[in-house]
Symmetry: C2
Amino acid sequence: MYLRALTSLADDGTTTCSSEELAASAGVNSAKLRKDLSYLGSYGTRGVGYDVEYLRYQIAREIGVTQDWPVVIVGIGNLGHALANYSGFRSRGFRVVALLDADRDRTGETVAGLDVRAFEDLESIVADNDVSIGVIATPAVAAQSVADRMVAAGITSILNFAPTVLSVPDGVDVRKVDLSIELQILAYHEQRKSVSSEVVS
Amino acid sequence: MYLRALTSLADDGTTTCSSEELAASAGVNSAKLRKDLSYLGSYGTRGVGYDVEYLRYQIAREIGVTQDWPVVIVGIGNLGHALANYSGFRSRGFRVVALLDADRDRTGETVAGLDVRAFEDLESIVADNDVSIGVIATPAVAAQSVADRMVAAGITSILNFAPTVLSVPDGVDVRKVDLSIELQILAYHEQRKSVSSEVVS
DNA sequence: GACGTTTTGTTCTCCCGTTCACAAACTCCT
DNA sequence: AGGAGTTTGTGAACGGGAGAACAAAACGTC
């Protein structure tokens, strides 16, 4: 988040900023921001603030986005399509090296300039490109078996869009994104707004 | 999450379950699950467990997914496309009533069975369908103005996929989803794995 | 009908993240 | 050069969520 805010500031031509400004554009408390940054080192100047470009580089280096991360996406449905085309990945140092789908009818299609390949090619692709991050955009029923296969192929980080809890061995990181849960949270608050206004009226 | 786990159990034909089982399939601690459920009421039976169907209904009622929530999606790029087609919304009680895009060339296209309409129609669509939830899938630069317009039209909950912090008045809820931040978190852990193994070797 | 077993609901404790508040450090102005 | 004004970095206080542990309640068995 800080990295994004800093990039945005740099694009606006800002060369230096205070913790207060940066915190505001990242949407957090300024004390929290300063404490977070202090874990990386002491990159600010008291009385002045932070140098945007310098701090940006330091954060990028720390979280590892200065290097290029090869990524494979499995499941080229609507979501997989969108992910393959998502420019945010490219600009943050992620390179989609392959799109895989179990559906034989899909292999050979071209999406976002990449050929969709057979799921069987997973192992060789991972080995050839030294891939350590995989994205699962398959239906829920397929997710666990895809994850197992990914782990066997040597992938150690998985971003899971399927609405399932994946079980993986220790040492493998999984992060789950569930788009409809976010909507459900909003709906819950909406419901509470309406019931509390009914009580008032 | 619990709702999804319960639905999954119900599909498997399970009629009753313990907090231990449900916690396992939701990926949380059983004590936490029981505490969470206790906020809703006392829907379990000691010595037996929870009735899957009954608990499912109670949770659905509490979080408001028993009713139908109309939703508008603004920005029909790759992501908007995927969201419009995403079946998970429909099955969780969300109904996409309109797709809007500022690009005049896009209006008239049909996506997921809905016509893409001009952004100018926002106010009338919101009023006619009693919409309170909006989804922003536009580029970052457009997001804030779309949000302002949504709020003015009467929308009180926004799901934001654009990589920007939105500022909205009190009483309006915003949730942000940033797909590449999740990947960055994975990349960070990957980097730490590799540096720590270098130290060992 | 009483007792042991199982499982929920709840209390207590611990721990971690967040925020406040202030000293240290730097700049600018006189 | 010195003091006033900023702004960082960090120690201390606060709050809340997560897990352990236990009492209460239901079921089954004899």
